[in-house]
């Protein structure tokens, strides 16, 4: 693209906010009462993880694998891609993430469930925001409740809940499980920013938070555990 520096973020916005929010309204109406079931499944997976219940890994893999694939197909490819051609290229990433979530759950030792630390508490908060606060955001933004974004039905809460649970669990697979959700947050956050929507900051904040918490957990020793001053 020539003279790229002359472009603003909103030059890349292909659709009006009204058209965008109506996608969620149509999705919810077409799938009702599935949004209730996906929210319940998300909360159940979260409880399994929190209580480190037997089968937590399998439950998490099943729920998150299925919702990533479902949202990728039913929302991204079937709806969102009709107004944003870039999304047609992002849909397959949701299928890859679904396979990765399923694979991590099935492979012994890929994920470990430990007692909640500070990073885990932040992850839990993020997951709860995605599951319970996201659906009521329209009320704060002055949009109709019918266009609520629900976990397992719409991409943003699904992705943020995923980042939340990935911050709770441990294991070597995190490095492959986190990139797609983080990239989606940046893509969707910038889209919402171009639409002047305040909730853009939730999307853009999630990767920043993850990066910060990653530094706290895996970063240099002085960040993890400050040496007592003498």
């Amino acid at each position: 693209m020539s003279e790229w520096w002359t472009y603003r973020l909103d030059d890349f916005l292909l659709f009006s906010p009204r058209t965008y929010w109506r996608l969620f309204e149509a999705q919810n109406a077409a799938l009702w009462p599935l949004p209730l079931a996906t929210t319940a499944a998300g909360l159940a997976a979260l409880l399994l993880i929190l209580f480190r219940a037997p089968g937590a890994s399998l439950g998490m893999g099943l729920v998150f694998g299925v919702v990533w694939a479902f949202v990728g197909y039913s929302f991204l490819l079937e709806r969102y891609a009709t107004i944003n051609w870039a999304v047609a290229y992002l849909g397959p990433a949701f299928f890859i993430q679904a396979l990765l979530m399923g694979g991590a759950a099935l492979r012994a030792g890929a994920l470990a469930f430990r007692r909640l630390d500070g990073v885990g508490v932040a992850g839990l908060t993020l997951a709860l925001v995605a599951l319970l606060v996201f659906p009521v955001l329209p009320l704060a933004a002055g949009r109709p409740f019918a266009c609520a974004e629900v976990f397992g039905i719409a991409p943003d809460p699904t992705v943020i809940a995923t980042i939340g649970v990935l911050l709770i669990v441990r294991g070597g697979w995190l490095a492959v499980l986190l990139p797609i959700p983080l990239l989606w947050c940046v893509f969707s956050g910038l889209t919402l920013l171009a639409m002047d929507e305040t909730q853009a900051w939730l999307l853009l904040g999630a990767p920043a938070l993850t990066f910060g918490l990653g530094v706290v957990r895996f970063g240099p020793r002085w960040v993890r555990r400050p040496e007592p001053r003498v």
């Binding site: 292909l14 009006s16 009204r18 107004i83 051609w85």
Partner: protein
């Protein structure tokens, strides 16, 4: 609706006799302002319809119906040119659906674009675009934002020579790449140039508009309202009482009057989701166009707000 010469003359005479009568009352639902395409001498209504963002509504049936209603009002008021691009998501399909529903494929002046970096993909993209519109051939095909312009212009010129296209063109916006645009205008036989121009974006006045007039290139004006930012900003301000002298009853009409009063401008293509706005836009500059002094007054006034 057919626009006869007599009707145009009557309209013009009426406009001259009663310049202070609101333009909408004189011309709404009547003949819109006409311009001539230099390459052919063909007359064309000076207000067209853009589709960027406004017509990208996907499979949303209600919004599709709203777009069709905008198109119906556009044709009813005498509009003809509709501009779209493969870049505009579902807009092309929405235009095609509207044309089929209204059965107005005969009325439309189809202004489309080719938008791909690949020279080889150009022809296939044009075929796909034509399918979406449901027309046999396009009136105008433009190289969108000069992307891969050399190869695509060859394609378009070959199509025109073979009778599969009526006019060729190039587009740019927001003042980008005017140097290259000027080079192309001087060296290639294009029929149309599309660029941004309005009372606060006047860069085109310096070189490109005079050059277009000199070389007989028709000019389409995009972003007349800065994608709505200008009309939204002005909505908070009172319309000056001298706007009537420019044939305007609203800010949108005052802006369009300014644009159309440049002699090199052929068609302005505001986009809208609203039937009342499309009517208001078509009624713009009905007969009374601002003179040079009034043009400067409009630009100074809007620029200062």
């Amino acid at each position: 609706m057919t626009i006869t010469r007599r009707r145009l003359l009557e309209t013009a005479a009426l406009g001259a006799a009663m310049p202070l009568l609101p333009a909408t009352r004189l011309f709404a639902q009547d003949a819109p302002l006409m311009r001539t395409i230099p390459a052919s001498g063909e007359a064309i209504p000076a207000i067209g319809l853009g589709t960027w963002i406004t017509f990208n509504v996907g499979d949303d049936r209600q919004l599709q119906a709203e777009c069709t209603a905008v198109m119906a009002a556009f044709f009813a008021a005498g509009g003809r040119m509709i501009d779209s691009s493969p870049m505009y998501g579902s807009s092309q399909a929405v235009v095609g659906r509207g044309l089929a529903t209204l059965d107005r494929r005969d009325a439309v002046f189809s202004a489309e674009k080719v938008w791909t970096t690949s020279a080889a993909n150009g022809p296939a993209q044009i075929v796909q675009t034509r399918r979406l519109w449901g027309v046999d051939r396009f009136d105008l095909l433009q190289v969108h934002n000069l992307l891969g312009w050399e190869a695509h212009l060859d394609t378009l010129q070959a199509m025109k020579a073979a009778g599969r296209l009526r006019y060729t063109g190039i587009t740019t916006s927001e003042g980008r790449r005017h140097d290259l645009v000027e080079t192309i205008m001087r060296r290639h036989p294009i029929d149309f140039l599309q660029l941004s121009y309005n009372p606060v974006d006047r860069d085109a006045e310096r070189r490109l508009l005079p050059l277009a007039a000199e070389r007989g290139i028709a000019v389409i004006i995009n972003r007349p309202f800065r994608q709505g930012a200008l009309t939204r900003r002005l909505a908070r301000e009172p319309l000056p009482d001298w706007a009537g002298a420019a044939g305007a009853t609203s800010w949108a009409q005052l802006i369009l009057g300014f644009i159309l009063s440049h002699p090199a401008v052929t068609v302005a293509i505001p986009a809208t989701t609203r039937v009342d706005h499309v009517r208001e836009n078509l009624a713009a500059a009905g007969g009374v166009l601002p003179d040079r002094a009034l043009r400067e007054r409009i630009a100074a006034h809007i620029g200062a707000l």
